[in-house]
Amino acid sequence: MQTHFTTEQLRDPDIASSNRELRTCVHCGFCTATCPTFLLLGDELDSPRGRIYLIKDMLETGRPATEDVVRHVDRCLSCLSCMTTCPSGVNYMHLVDHARAYIEQTYKRPWPERMIRAALGALIPNPSAFRVALAGAQLARPLAGLIPGQGMLSQRLRAMLRLAPASTPSPSPIERPAIHPAIGPRKARVALLAGCAQQVLAPSINEATIRLLTRLGVEVVIAREAGCCGSLNHHMGQHDAAMARARANIEAWNAEIGVGGLDAIIVNASGCGTTIKDYGFMFRAEDAPLREKAERVSSLALDVTEFLTRFGYTPSRPAPDLTVAYHAACSLQHGQKVTADPKTLLKAAGFRVVEPAEGHICCGSAGTYNLLQPAIANQLRDRKLGNLRATRPDLIAAGNIGCITQLGGDTLPVVHTIELLDWMAGGPRPEPLKN
């Protein structure tokens, strides 16, 4: 597509990068077809091509973001389904990331929204603060029905209370910075992203990961000073906070590489994996040592199912006679293009694996999306659960805590893929399957 940037504008590395993507786009419109919001709302402005056009206009004119542009960019789930569809190879993720940071810098949101976004950006990435906030939400849960009105603020408060779990598991000691030695001869050494929200909501996922990996002969390091990957802030356009969190991880893992070497950095929350694999791009304008460290981290990052596929996985229990509907998290299938590995592993573990119709369409979780855009998120969840139920499964497996929370609470148990793989290789039966 034609663009209209001045030479002066193109000196900004972010504009230069976005210009490259805009020039790659040929405006063919294929992306509209697989965009969840275009499907629901039927408006070009709520499609990738429409958003690209809005972003292009905003960046070209250099004017502050307007409420109209913000509304349509905010409605983007960042599911990246459009990137799987795009024949031209436009990196929409980098474009929309740039737009979000630009919006944050140039647009003043109404105060309730500023408060909510600031609170989410500060609380969720910090496990102890998030735990306290959830305890508060649990107390307030019965009051959800009393919040009046259909305004965005009321909808968002109700969504937050609804999504807060009825009880929070106790913190797991296994997630403290430590080295978990391999059982038997050590065949590999990896770092595990302990994460933020996931360890509060479902510590069993990290427990299963560490159990399974160490049993296979992998030494697992939870690095000191590593924490939230930065995605939450990144997706809300909170650029500095995102970079600070990413930088902490980059330094922590590089320190670990210096101490004992790392064969991989394992991620078991695919939303985080997409961002960590992009650290190299995020730090592209930094000076050499940091830039190279970021690139090293991105090149070592693997989803846990990618690692297991390469490393080898064999079950030790007999096949469990269960049908698993595999829910492909968008960050895994579109963000990281990991599609076959989880299903192949689940089949190898002895499960019957079925896939829902519209597997490429997002469940509506999308990080904080289900808190910030509850109406669209709820429609997508119902659509997804309908398609999953139609496959008549015994349970649902997914590789991302966001999807697990979004799809949970229904009659079907939702379990992380790694918990099922651990169970079949000698670990305990996952909690949701114990009745």
Binding site: Q2, T3, T24, V26, H27, A33, D43, H72, S88, V90
Partner: protein, 485 residues
């Protein structure tokens, strides 16, 4: 640049009242009128032409479409119908004084009749959406434009879209049984039904391919067909475009009708392979995708005969797809071909001429010569079996001289198509892109007769202005202006 008619000043002056009037006819969020929200609607798949409309209406029912058209007709407002906005000929290009009627919200499957083998869907259902709705029962909808993932059935009717598999099954016109249309006066008409051959004049034939200039299509009844028992694709690689072209001619003249017979040249093969990883022959100058279908015995017999024909043209390689995944990747590459050119060139013009297949070797050679003459790259991707060419002319839209050259080059190709006994458009429609070449194809009295048909449906020429007919007579505005810089 192709000139566009000047806007009607009186309409622009009444803008606020027109927007308010339209707003009353549509559901909440059904009307867009803010300038920065109109911008993404200023163009379609031919993004070199751009013009933001006065407003965009997003109706949800046929009745709302009728109300909007009645209102526009009474107020002398031009109307541009739009589906998914994937037109490569600028078929959905708005005018400054026009209202875009977007049918994307009308995306429901209304009825599937397996006994009579047809389906009725709203105009905003995607082409693939029709097949998806019936595939679990072993049926499919045959016409398959490359943009079938995104393009909508209403647009397919208006452009009489084809596709790779039309060699065997025919184009949209051959797969259509009924339409619900809204005239510019707001009257709702039902045409055809669940049976072949509609009553009275051949309205379906007239409206199919009418490019949104006669009426707005809101519902479509299409034929659905039993899916074949199986299908297999073969890749045949050749050392030159002309040899591949000669091979196409041999296949067609042998009497075999493969279900698809597609041509890609070297630049196209490389761009598409990078996208689809289909195992295309990267050492070839040209490649044919030949697909056959039916029982395994039928496929084997046809592939054997086709291989023998290919072998007479000294192929570099012949490869038969060994699995469903491989076939899927082969088609993914072909269907994503236009967009994949975005990997090797920032912009392209996609031509769409049709020629007798016996002329393929000559026309391909001449296109190659023109490419060298203009100094612009060309990727050739097309439905070879139908003789429907899609040369993609690569240019840089940030360089106006390059765009001008590309347009002139494109016009030369289309003139060549007419010269060898073919026509200006196979399936993309005339739109704004080929409008001024219509006199190359038609004599003045032939164009005049077509204009009379347009006037019979739309006396004030309000529907899809500035498309198809050169800007003389009723198609012309008071002054000519340029669409874009």
């Amino acid at each position: 640049m192709i000139p566009l008619p000047a806007p009607k000043q009186d309409v622009l002056q009444r803008r606020a009242a027109i927007v308010a009037g339209l707003r009353d006819l549509l559901p909440e969020s059904g009307l867009i009128s803010e300038p920065n929200r109109l911008k993404p609607y200023e163009t379609d798949g031919l993004s070199a032409y751009r013009m933001p409309p006065m407003a965009v209406a997003l109706p949800e029912t046929t009745e709302q479409v009728a109300a909007v058209l009645r209102f526009c007709s009474r107020n002398g407002v031009r109307v541009v119908p739009r589906g998914a906005g994937t037109s490569l000929s600028g078929g959905a290009l708005p005018m400054e004084d026009s209202v875009v009627v977007g049918l994307m919200r009308m995306n429901r499957i209304l009825d599937i009749d397996y006994a009579d083998r047809c389906a009725t869907v709203q105009a905003g259902v995607t082409n693939i959406g029709v097949t998806n709705a019936v595939s679990a029962n072993g049926f499919f909808y045959a016409p398959d434009p490359s943009s079938q993932l995104a393009c909508m059935i209403g647009g397919n009717v208006n452009m009489n879209s084809g596709g790779a598999h039309c060699l065997k099954y025919g184009v949209t016109a051959n797969n259509l049984l009924g339409l619900k249309i809204v005239t510019i006066d707001g009257d709702i008409l039902d045409i055809g039904g669940h049976h072949l051959d509609a009553a009275g004049y051949d309205w379906l034939g007239l409206l199919t391919g009418s490019e949104g200039m006669l009426a707005v299509v809101t519902e479509v009844t299409v034929r659905i067909l039993r899916a074949p028992e199986g299908a297999r694709a073969m890749l045949a690689a050749f050392a030159s475009n002309e040899v591949a072209g000669a091979c196409v001619d041999s296949i067609i003249s042998s009497g075999i009708i493969p279900v698809a017979l597609e041509f890609m040249d070297r630049p196209a093969i490389h761009a598409c392979e990078a996208f689809a990883h289909a195992g295309y022959p990267l050492d070839a100058e040209a490649m044919l995708i030949i697909e056959v279908e039916g029982s395994t015995a039928e496929q084997d017999d046809l592939l054997g005969r086709l291989s023998a024909i290919c072998n007479r043209h000294d192929p570099i390689s012949l490869k038969v797809s060994q699995s469903a995944e491989e076939s899927l990747a082969i088609w993914k590459g072909r269907k994503g071909a236009f967009g994949a050119i975005g990997r090797i060139s920032p912009d392209y013009l996609c031509m769409d001429g049709t020629i007798p297949t016996s002329q393929l070797p000559l026309v391909l050679r001449r296109i190659g010569e023109m490419s060298a003459g203009y100094g612009l790259g060309v990727a050739n991707i097309f439905h070879a079996g139908d003789g429907n060419l899609h040369p993609l002319i690569m240019f840089d839209a940030n360089d106006p001289a390059s765009f001008h050259k590309a347009e002139t080059f494109g016009a030369d190709i289309l003139r060549l198509c007419v010269e060898v006994g073919g026509c200006l458009t196979g399936e993309h429609g005339v739109g704004v892109e080929k409008r001024d070449l219509m006199p190359v194809q038609f004599a003045p009295h032939e164009l005049a007769q077509q204009r009379r048909i347009k006037s019979a449906f739309d006396p004030d020429w309000l529907l899809n202005p500035s498309k198809v007919f050169p800007l003389v007579g009723p198609a012309a505005g008071p002054v000519l202006s340029m669409a874009a810089e």
